[in-house]
């Protein structure tokens, strides 16, 4: 029987790199942020994910076919990016495999950026970014950088699993969640997440294009957002609004 999820490497993968994840989730925050970073840092494709659990889709760029879930890299950063919504049923095995692969490649830190849906997003001029981490020392780092900690509640979806599997494997991991729209693309939230990402990693990324070109990004991200929302509904993403039972 073949492996359910295979990571096919096309170029050499740096060791001891920082691993960034840009996966479809609320407001497409992580996806927009990571796509922007990949573009700004001119990162190249180094690997892709192959799995029967993914839909039979290729993405064409300049007439050439590419896998929708790819890994980009440079000498000290690897970034996962999905150009298609991930089916709910594929999320667990794919996230498990990505974390396992990260461990084999000896990544020094896994950073996930995402959105945290809030009801009054339309009223907010500035969005807040919350953080969570896989160990107390990283939580302190987040606090020291002025990032408010997400103390309680539920996380649902690909990033939730990345955090869980990283913790299981003792891989240092953090997540940065910017307040965002639930089912509308949110480039402003992506810019806010990148600013906090820069504070933590020291990687300077200009976000002005995300702010100035926000409306164009929202226009182009409609179909991706629509399909992502369908999958998030299947994952019961709204459980993030639930009050946990602490007795």
């Amino acid at each position: 029987m073949s492996e359910p999820v295979r990571i096919v490497e096309k170029k050499s993968v740096p060791s001891n790199a920082l691993m960034l994840n840009g996966l479809p989730d609320v407001g497409l925050v992580g996806l927009i942020a990571t796509s922007h970073i990949i573009g700004q840092l001119r990162m190249n494709e180094i690997a892709y994910v192959d799995s029967d659990l993914l839909p039979p889709v290729v993405v064409l760029h300049e007439g050439l076919p590419y896998a929708p879930l790819r890994i980009f890299g440079n000498s000290n950063l690897v970034a996962t990016l999905s150009e298609a919504a991930l089916p709910a049923k594929s999320v667990q095995p794919i996230m498990r495999r990505l974390v396992e692969w990260g461990q084999i490649k000896k990544v020094r830190l896994v950073v996930s950026m995402g959105g945290m849906a809030v009801q009054d997003r339309q009223e907010m001029e500035q969005v807040k970014v919350y953080g969570a981490a896989s160990n107390p020392s990283l939580l302190k780092t987040l606090s020291d950088k002025g990032i408010e900690i997400l103390h309680g509640g539920f996380m649902v979806g690909p990033y939730a699993l990345i955090m869980r599997y990283c913790t299981e494997r003792n891989i240092p991991a953090i997540i940065l969640l910017a307040q965002s729209f639930y089912n509308y693309p949110d480039p402003e939230a992506a810019a806010a997440a990148i600013k906090e990402f820069s504070k933590i990693t020291g990687l300077s990324v200009d976000v002005s294009k995300l702010i100035e070109g926000g409306e164009e990004i929202r226009l182009k991200a409609r179909d991706m957002m629509k399909r992502t929302t369908e999958e998030l509904n299947r994952m019961k993403k709204t459980q993030e609004f639930d009050m946990p039972l602490y007795v």
Binding site: F181, Y184, P185, K220, D223
Partner: protein, 146 residues
């Protein structure tokens, strides 16, 4: 009796085991029937992302309308339970801007039609446009007591 022998299952266990599969198939069937492109070249329209939220006293409808002039927004009750939002974009958008060169056509409007699952009073609706998002509040109609 050996442990390896398969336990007899209740007839009622079987449906519950397959509920998830049935749900998935139903979703796929419904999706296949209704799925269509998010654009219409004849009408020069792109489908806007929209959301309907039914509250206790009102229905809140929102639509993401980036690059839109708010003065051009039209909201119309098409029939008893369908609301249509249409708005003109500030500029025309072509397929090649999305990297698609094998299709021709350009778009000037956003449009979305939403099913509103409860009775509402369109005459009393209030609207607001902020951050490129339209918000429409429709008071719910109350049933009169017999």
């Amino acid at each position: 009796m050996t442990e390896t022998r398969r336990r007899r299952r209740s007839l009622f266990d079987l449906p519950s085991e397959h509920v998830e599969d049935i749900e998935t198939l139903t979703e796929e069937f419904a999706g296949a029937e209704t799925e269509r492109p998010s654009w219409d070249t004849k009408a020069c329209c792109i489908e806007a992302l929209c959301n309907v939220s039914v509250e206790v006293d009102e229905v809140v409808v929102t639509a993401d309308l980036p690059n839109t002039n708010p003065d051009t927004i039209k909201i119309e009750q098409i029939n008893r339970d369908i609301l249509e939002i249409k708005a003109e974009m500030k500029r025309r958008v072509r397929f090649d801007e999305f990297g698609i060169t094998h299709r021709k056509g350009e778009f000037r409007f956003f449009r979305c039609q939403m099913h509103i699952p409860v009775s509402f009073d369109a005459k009393k609706m209030t609207t607001r446009f902020k951050r490129g998002i339209l918000e429409v509040r429709l008071p719910r109609k109350r049933r009169t007591k017999p």
